[in-house]
């Protein structure tokens, strides 16, 4: 038997713990019934972590709690939260610390059953190894499967199967072997690279720190030996460089650097790196730290980098190995673990934080939920607290990322509820649905300004807004005629040609009207990217929708034109007979009648169609367009 006596002193820890240890983070999974608290307590005890006054209290309390004579109740060392439990305080993830001569350990312990998914995901997100407890009498249970799935989902590849309570099955090797075989068969699809099974009796410390004659048939490592020797993240030192920029460092006009923590790979002065998403490449000049410049920095280090060229790199950009950059996309698939009481709302705007970059994002599709007990996909409309599901996300701007399974720090993100500021979900990015990789660096020779130059014009979106009957279509046609006459390439998008094709699936509810305008804005932007001058003639009554359209375009390429006529005038014109129908109640939600029109506050152009003729108005607008000059030329003058 290992030492379990009342005066057992730490065996592993001791006098001169070297400051040259490394650090391993692991998570323990199992319930109180499996003896998890006892195992963690025993680990702390064997490593000499609890101070003397705590050990004395342990001895006192062990007697009181009625443990077997001479046996310490090690669970008392980690049950310090009992009082809080009584006060109704949520207990989620607790972190424990101990060290041996070789390593310092951080243990994530997730007590309780209720919030297990959220808590396990949190604890596992930073862990390299999972210790999964099994009661030797019970074998592989549903909860074992659930824990193993979550551990695998969060990217842990090394698992210790601690088969506990071996004393209660007489240290029978056949029992142990059967459980291990059972587990290996179940875990085969989970992608673990290493499963180390260890027969354990936590209260007596069997195979925790010390070997025992009771298990002389077992020749593997003890739990502490395993944790001390399991290889750490060497792989990530050889992986491609990734550093998410936390901020620009400019203490004086001469010094320009960026700060960040290297999350994978390594970097040296002279290395060629790529700033993503802009795609610019540059050379690392210096690795600056308080302790002096470094010749080499590796994953895990916080540094400041300076570059040989004056490249633009700001918070949220990723500094990457030039020959192995991350993907860049604005539409991605991901696995979500829902963490908020408020369930997932599809198509609602959340904030997505990935590295140091925060963007707006919405979940456009929930493919399915995953039943964490059976690991089977289940059809679902939403995700509730502790739900796990596969989704498609749409970001409001392209972001650099790596698939989570390749790099946790550049593939793991959180969703934040914009109203409550709660962390609503954790996510693991899987793949790009629509890649933007190539837009910036490989497509540079034919970018939008090149296309525009070929047409000899500066593209623009002319957004004509106003009441029905105000004269938008008439004006758009006159403008197009005048532009065509001077050799410009143009296109008109109006309600009729879009409503009958692209948007024929949309009705006139508020949501559909918003979507209608969003699609038109996107199409207009694409056409402008292609070099065209696009004329949009839509009532577009809501300011927010027009602002969205504006936000898609460079500042001097969006021209908002308020085509104004008093409601009475417009209604009197009534070219399509729509006002009459609306007044008769045959048309619902008609702008100006039973739906509001929000006039632009500061349009680039204001046309009063009761005092200005269509041709004069068109000429005024064409002059404005021509005055902007050509793309790529300095100055907007003539």
């Amino acid at each position: 038997m290992a030492d379990g006596g009342l005066h057992g002193k730490g065996q592993v820890g001791g006098e001169a713990l070297s400051p040259q240890r490394d650090l391993l983070r692991f998570i323990t999974c199992g319930s109180v019934d499996d003896g998890k608290s006892t195992l963690i307590g025993r680990l702390l005890y064997d490593a000499g972590a609890p101070p003397q006054d705590e050990l004395e209290r342990l001895e006192r309390d062990s007697l009181r709690s009625g443990s077997a004579a001479g046996r310490l109740d090690f669970s008392l060392l980690v049950d310090g939260l009992a009082a809080e439990r009584e006060q109704g305080i949520t207990i989620d993830v607790a972190y424990r610390y101990f060290a041996t001569d070789k390593r310092k350990f951080i243990v994530a312990d997730t007590p309780g059953h209720e919030q297990y998914t959220r808590n396990m995901a949190t604890g596992a997100s930073t862990a390299e190894v999972a210790v999964i407890l099994i009661d030797a009498r019970k074998g592989v249970l549903t909860q074992t499967r659930r824990h193993s799935f979550l551990v695998s989902l969060m990217g842990i590849r090394k698992v210790v199967l601690a088969v506990n309570k071996m004393d209660l099955v007489g240290y029978d090797q056949a029992v142990f072997d059967a459980i291990v075989a059972d587990y290996r068969a179940f875990a085969a699809p989970l992608g673990f690279t290493e499963i180390q099974a260890i027969p354990v009796c936590a209260p007596d410390g069997v195979n925790v720190a010390a070997r025992s004659t009771s298990t002389d048939w077992y020749d593997g490592p003890t739990l502490i030996q395993y944790l001390e020797t399991v290889p750490l993240t060497e792989a990530s030192l050889k992986a491609p460089l990734r550093m998410s920029v936390q901020g620009a460092v400019r203490p004086d006009p001469e010094f320009r650097g960026v700060s960040g923590l290297i999350t994978s790979g390594h970097v040296q002065p002279g290395d060629t790196v790529r700033v993503c998403p802009s795609g610019r490449t540059t050379t690392v000049a210096r690795i600056v730290t308080y302790d002096g410049d470094l010749p080499l920095a590796v994953a895990g280090q916080s540094v400041v980098l300076t570059f040989a060229d004056e490249v633009d790199a700001s918070r949220g950009d990723v500094i990457a190995a030039a020959d192995a950059p991350p993907q860049i996309a604005d539409t991605v698939t991901a696995t979500l673990v829902w963490m908020d009481d408020a369930p997932l709302a599809l198509n609602r705007d959340y904030l997505l934080k990935l590295g140091a970059r925060t963007v707006a994002a919405k979940v456009t599709d929930l493919h399915h939920r995953i039943d964490v007990n059976t690991l089977q996909p289940v059809a679902a409309e939403t995700l509730a607290l502790n739900g796990v599901g596969e989704v498609t996300l749409r970001l409001d701007q392209a972001a650099p990322f790596d698939p989570y399974d390749e790099a946790r720090d550049t593939g793991g993100f959180i969703l934040i509820d914009r109203l409550s500021n709660a962390t609503a979900a954790a996510g693991m990015l899987r793949q790009a649905v629509r890649r933007a990789d190539n837009i910036h660096w490989q497509a540079q020779s034919v970018d939008r300004s090149a296309r525009a130059r070929m047409k000899g014009q500066r593209p623009a979106v002319l957004w004509l807004t106003g009441l029905s009957g105000a004269g938008k279509s008439t004006l758009a046609n006159r403008i197009e005629l005048q532009l065509q006459a001077t050799g410009r390439h143009t296109y008109i998008l109006d309600g009729d040609n879009v409503r009958h094709g692209l948007n024929k699936d949309l009705g006139f509810t508020e949501a559909d009207r918003v979507e209608n305008i969003r699609r038109v804005a996107e199409v207009a932007r694409l056409m402008a990217d292609a070099g065209l001058i696009v004329l949009v003639a839509f009532i577009s009554p809501f300011r927010a929708d027009r602002d969205l359209a504006r936000s898609l375009m460079p500042a001097d390429e969006f021209i908002e034109v308020h085509v104004d006529a008093p409601l009475a005038v417009a209604e009197a014109r009534d070219p399509k007979g729509l006002y009459r129908k609306a007044r008769a109640g045959e048309l619902k939600n008609f702008t100006g009648i039973d739906s509001p029109y929000e006039p632009p506050l500061s349009p680039e152009v204001y046309i009063d169609t009761t005092t200005t003729s269509p041709d004069d108005a068109a000429a005024q607008i064409v002059r404005l367009i021509e005055q902007r000059g050509l793309p790529g030329l300095d100055g907007d003058g003539i």
Binding site: L17, R118, A121, P251, Y290, D291, G412, N421
Partner: protein, 323 residues
């Protein structure tokens, strides 16, 4: 001495992917902890409007401050230091505070609760619980509100006390500075959700994952100065309820016939002198302190009178806005 020990072994012109060089560059646990803390400082400063560093002059504050300076090097520290002075701190702490911050050219703010001062609140007249509430907890809230700080860095560690084991690295406080268990946000990977509304604030603990030994080893490696109180010397003490209290000034009431005796003592934590127990010790250097700590092994809060106050557990204090 620096933490660059390992990386300096690497030759500047090593071939990329050279395994030996990369292995030599493997980080120690202290390097990892330091890098993590630097990352936390930078995230908070990038996302908050008015951060401040709670400077309490103890060893944890000293380690925290060094990490903060490293995080923003070569730029100067982008936030001030704030010391809540209860007027009952050891005199040496105040001397150390003033000379150290002056030497480093740091901006130091000192706040004392004016109401408590006017009412003459102190540990002997009002008891430790009232004194701590008025001169520390309330004073801290006043100072944060007065300056509109929305993020306060502190040197607390999760290993200090059982109820801190689950404390977040970035702990969210409502507009009344209260810690709401329900509002605490899960912390995954290295992602911190620092979003807060006006009036709400964050307590940020960059040393969360450090242990007491880590702090001491860091102080040793980094050569960080500490007040002498941490090292054994002959000091005048009296014994109160089994705790050795140093008579730091003449405000300490002595019972009839009670006389301070000179004993060789040191302190493991620093605070208000009437609430801070000394331990008998011969450890007068950093090496000796670390050696003594790994052999005698009593928990560091053993000397703190405040924690024994059963009715006011750390949890309760935290809910009320204690750091």
């Amino acid at each position: 001495m620096t933490l660059r020990v390992d990386t300096r072994i690497a030759e500047p012109d090593l071939a990329l992917g050279d395994e030996t060089a990369l292995n030599a560059a493997r980080l120690t646990h202290l390097q990892r902890l330091e890098a993590e803390a630097i990352h936390i400082f930078r995230e908070t400063v990038a996302e908050c409007e008015r951060p401040v560093l709670m400077y309490s002059i103890g060893k944890d504050s000293q380690a925290l401050l060094r990490v903060a300076i490293k995080a923003f090097y070569p730029a100067p520290l982008p936030f001030p230091l704030l010391h809540i002075d209860t007027t009952w701190k050891f005199r040496e702490m105040i001397r150390f505070r003033d000379s150290y911050t002056k030497e480093l050219g740091l901006k130091l703010l000192v706040h004392t609760n004016p109401d408590g001062l006017a009412a003459g609140v102190g540990p002997f007249t009002h008891g430790s619980a009232t004194h701590t509430d008025i001169m520390k907890t309330q004073a801290l809230k006043q100072a944060l509100d007065l300056q509109g700080f929305d993020a306060a860095f502190g040197g607390a560690r999760r290993d200090e006390e059982a109820s801190r084991a689950k404390e977040r690295i970035i702990s969210f406080r409502n507009a009344a500075h209260a810690w709401e268990p329900k509002a605490q946000r899960p912390e995954l990977w290295r992602l911190y959700n620092t979003r807060h509304r006006r009036g709400e604030s964050l307590r940020v603990f960059p040393l969360s994952n450090w242990t007491e030994l880590d702090v001491w080893q860091y102080i040793q490696l980094e050569n960080i100065p500490l007040p002498d109180l941490y090292f054994a010397a002959e000091r005048p003490v009296v014994e109160r309820d089994g705790t050795l209290i140093m008579v730091d000034d003449d405000r300490m009431p002595l019972a009839p016939g009670e006389t301070p005796t000179l004993q060789k003592v040191r302190f493991r934590t620093l605070g208000c002198y009437p609430l801070t127990g000394a331990i008998l010790s011969d450890a007068s250097t950093l090496d000796e302190v670390i050696a003594e700590m790994t052999t005698s092994r009593m928990s560091e809060r053993q000397g703190r009178v405040i924690d024994r106050d059963q009715s006011a557990s750390m949890e309760k204090k935290k809910r009320e806005g204690y750091f």
